[in-house]
Symmetry: C2
């Protein structure tokens, strides 16, 4: 199954190219769904996980620590391309991982840098990726 | 409170202008969230509800009939504008309402027209609208 999974990852990576902003949907504590725009910071290539930097003391982090199931929705209204990822999120506080993924532009939002405890990573591992690209649409199971 | 609500509706309507496509997120029967792109068909003006035509025998209709809480995410990557609506959805089968909202372009998707039982309306009533528009962001409570 390894080669099939590699092919699936490659297909998703191709669709994700140039899609930087998405809406991250979490389960809020009032039972509603809540979303906010998030950037992948020009992440190199999709390899099965999607990573975001976040403030530690934010509603989305609290939401994820209560209910890990999330969704990511990417839309490009110029090329008419939509990608939806259903999966689970975890909060990663490992300083080495934060340093590895850090880019300088992030200092605009997180002035204390990747070493700060106030900065965490949100790691989203999608199990299903649905896509709509012109007339082409489909679903890719990743797990 | 009527005038305050009118002002809120007007503000949301202004933000929604020219945003036609969104992702509709529902709770799937496997416990995951699922989304798909939906069009408002150039709906005249937001008045508190958002309407979509749908096939009756679709997963999104089944999802909504099981769990009414949904979310709508609008993104315009050209003007860098994001609007997220959290609310509840209901399935409307009333033929008069379907005729009222029908536009001819829909025949491409629903060849039997608004009278057909195979065509339903999804009515979404948002309780909170969050928006991000350049440097401006905020939340508007509608109910």
């Amino acid at each position: 199954m390894a080669s099939q999974n590699t092919a699936s990852l490659k297909k998703v990576a191709d669709m994700m190219r140039d899609l930087d902003f998405c809406m991250l949907t979490t389960h809020a504590d009032d039972g509603q769904l809540r979303s906010r725009p998030m950037s992948n910071n020009g992440e190199v290539e999709f390899d099965g996980d999607v990573w975001f930097f976040s403030g530690a003391d934010t509603r989305k982090v609290a939401d994820i620590e209560t209910e890990a199931r999330v969704e990511l929705n990417y839309a490009d209204t110029q090329t008419f391309r939509f990608v939806s990822m259903s999966g689970t999120a975890t909060i990663v506080r490992d300083v080495d991982k934060k340093r590895e993924l850090w880019i300088d532009d992030l200092a605009r939002w997180f002035k204390d840098g990747p070493e700060s405890e106030d900065v965490v990573l949100i790691k989203v591992t999608p199990s299903v990726v649905a896509y709509w690209q012109g007339e082409d649409e489909g679903e890719i199971a990743l797990q």
